[in-house]
């Protein structure tokens, strides 16, 4: 086909994923265009024009909110369609590439169990609070059925999977929220599991690594009960932190609302996956409130990095290595074992 574009040139997801690799620690210039300040409040000090000649890759107008859950193309699940670039992908290859689209590099949603397998040397060696399951404190209309459907679909009891294992030989406590379970939202059971993760890790004196994904934040169907879990999880993190232990929070797509505004924000180190949506209020609500289009790239990992809200963006395929490095930075020389360089005193 003449003039055929590579998938990455199509402007899907504003080309946020079009670069082959993400640099682990350096803030990226590309895509870091500051949105024009809106809502009638001029903020000259905060608004920097993009550097001249900087390719922004953002010429495609409004922020694209495509689902990052790979869509099933055929019933047997052999092939899936990338939610970002629309390419048909071979499931096995996609899984091998850690659910990063091998055409456009979009970081697609990854099931919680796969995430554990991918990060831990022997998978979850012990699952904490495995018996905890969702409940319906308000008897909210239709909620029971939704919970059951989610359990059936994901094989999980709730949106959080917590436990311990070894990452590159280092003992860690790991928590993973699964987007495919009711959007990774936090109800009572998820909040209880997150709190339990920090409590157990404090007892065992393990560092915590937590991958959050919560599209809706606190789960609406549990009303004020889920709101309270923002307080209890925050307090569990605070107690854990007071014990002098390390918490690395990894924000994955999407980390919004009450999940972002509680435990997910309170890591000693905040990392994010490329292109992850991160923010407090959902984009639709903001658009309806301020009655204007949101700037491209709004509430992405790149946006919060530029605004100083996270430490680094890390490609999923470099995540394990990066986490291991960070864990070792927080160990005494004797604990680091063979990593100690001779004569480095």
């Amino acid at each position: 086909m003449a003039g055929q574009q590579r998938p990455s040139d199509r402007g899907f997801f504003n080309n946020l994923f079009s670069r082959p690799k993400y640099v682990t620690v350096h803030p990226r210039r590309v895509n870091s265009q500051t949105p024009p300040s809106g809502a009638g409040e001029a903020e000259p000090a905060r608004t920097q024009p993009p550097l001249p000649g900087t390719p922004t890759g953002l010429e495609t107008s409004a922020p694209v909110r495509l689902p990052l859950t790979p869509a099933r193309e055929v019933p047997d699940g052999l092939w899936v369609k990338c939610g970002a670039c629309g390419q048909i992908l071979y499931t096995k290859d996609l899984a091998k590439n850690l659910y990063v689209c091998y055409r456009c590099q979009a970081h697609l949603h990854i099931p919680a169990r796969d995430r554990c397998q991918q990060l831990l040397d022997h998978g979850l060696e012990e699952e904490f609070a495995a018996e905890l399951t969702g409940s319906d404190p308000l008897q909210f209309p239709g909620y029971r059925e939704k919970l059951e459907q989610a359990q059936e679909k994901t094989g999980l009891r709730e949106a959080a999977l917590i436990g311990r294992g070894h990452l590159d030989g280092l003992p860690v406590a790991l928590g993973v929220l699964d987007f495919s379970f009711m959007g990774g939202s936090m109800g009572w059971a998820v909040g209880e599991k997150i709190s339990c993760l920090f409590d157990r890790a404090r007892e065992l004196r393990l560092p915590v690594i937590l991958f959050s994904a919560g599209g809706g934040g606190a789960r609406m169907q549990e009303g004020v009960v889920s709101l309270m879990q923002m307080a209890t999880t925050t307090q569990a993190v605070a107690r854990f932190s007071q014990a002098g232990l390390l918490y690395i929070s990894v924000l994955t797509d999407p980390t919004m609302g009450g999940v972002y505004a509680s435990f997910a924000s309170l890591g000693d180190i905040l990392l994010a996956e490329p292109g992850a949506r991160i923010g407090f209020t959902g984009p639709r609500v903001i658009e309806q409130t301020i009655r204007q289009k949101l700037p491209p790239g709004f509430q992405t990992a790149e946006f919060v990095l530029k605004n100083g809200m996270i430490d680094a963006i890390v490609d999923r395929r470099e995540m394990k290595e990066t986490l291991a490095r960070l864990l070792r930075f927080h160990m005494r020389p004797a604990q680091r074992g063979d990593q100690v360089v001779q004569g480095s005193v």
């Binding site: 809106g38 008897q139 709190s195 605070a238 107690r239 923010g279 903001i286 700037p295």
Partner: protein, 327 residues
């Protein structure tokens, strides 16, 4: 004083004004209508009971939003002998949607922090409709820590539908700041009493809604999201807000049952806006009582108990609720 009238209380308001007319008429003409007036007043009393005793959740939400409902600064001026407002987050700007300062409550120095709505359009624009930006929460944290340094109790007055949903708020870290604020109030080494005076929606309310005692006014609501927000997200129809208000169980009585608040403070029949002075006096008495309850508890114990309170709430409160419902 705003005289906004809800549709569902119109029959009562009309009856009340008819009684007033009749009284004026009888006085003017010197005609004795006391029999008729007494009958009407009896009817009004019955109607008043009917109107306000069995309010739906949605009607309560409407009362909580009544434009004449006392704001944080109203309560402060009605309850406190002296008060000086302190401004600014020392980092970006002063957020007019959150007010705070030091004052005397029953002779005792306290720090008060509250969300501040306006009473009319002009004030509301200046106050951003009581919707804070991150700098507002930073101001709240600053004032709370200042209070702790001088062993002053902190009182928060919560009346907020949610944190401001805007571009700048997101740029400046709305979510992260709310998380930090929840943490700050959770660990604050001084007594913290929160009073939900009107609306208390989402993390924006919880950011100044964590403390040792949570009081809630009778017609206030407290939930994870506004009923409109819930209806438009779940059912794609904001007009179903009344149904959502019911489903969310956001009334003071429900919150008490769920173990989320400690005490519900009765309001003048029909809402605090009908008699702000009485409402403020009820609130003041409850605050003074709560402060004296917390007196003399060492701060370490206080913080410990505060943290345990949230653990207890989540395991006990709603389970009690569920079992009552036969779950």
């Amino acid at each position: 004083m705003s005289r906004a009238v809800f549709d569902w209380e119109r029959p009562l308001v009309e009856l009340e004004s008819r009684i007033a007319e009749l009284q004026a008429f009888s006085q003017e003409r010197g005609i004795d209508l006391s029999g008729e007036i007494a009958t009407l007043e009896e009817r009004a009393a019955r109607l008043r009971e009917e109107t306000y005793r069995n309010l739906t959740a949605w009607q309560r939400v409407q009362i909580a939003r009544h434009p004449g409902r006392p704001t944080a600064l109203d309560y402060i001026s009605l309850m406190m002998e002296d008060f000086m407002e302190l401004h600014g987050d020392r980092a970006f700007r002063d957020d007019p949607a959150i007010v705070g300062g030091i004052g005397l409550l029953a002779g005792r120095p306290v720090t008060v922090i509250g969300t501040q709505k306006g009473r009319d359009t002009k004030e509301n624009l200046a106050r951003n409709f009581g919707l804070p930006h991150p700098e507002g929460y930073r101001k709240a944290m600053r004032l709370a820590e200042q209070a702790a340094k001088f062993h002053r109790p902190v009182i928060t007055l919560v009346d907020i539908v949610g944190a401001y949903p805007g571009i700048e708020a997101e740029e400046r870290g709305q979510g992260l700041t709310i998380a930090e604020s929840i943490r700050t109030f959770s660990l604050l080494p001084t007594p913290v009493i929160c009073a939900i005076t009107g609306e208390a929606g989402s993390g924006g309310a919880l950011a100044i809604g964590v403390g040792d005692r949570i009081l809630m006014m009778e017609y206030a609501w407290h939930s994870v999201i506004s009923p409109e927000g819930c209806a438009s997200i779940l059912w794609k129809d904001a007009r179903q807000a009344a149904a959502a208000a019911e489903a969310l169980r956001l009334t003071a009585a429900e919150c008490l049952k769920l173990g989320v608040v400690d005490e519900v403070l009765p309001e003048p029949l029909g809402g605090a806006h009908r008699d702000p002075r009485t409402a403020a006096s009820t609130l003041k008495q409850a605050l003074v009582r709560a402060l004296s309850d917390l007196d003399g508890i060492p701060v370490e114990t206080l913080v410990q108990q505060r943290l345990e309170r949230y653990r207890r709430d989540r395991s006990a409160g709603w389970q009690r609720h569920s079992s009552e419902a036969g779950l």
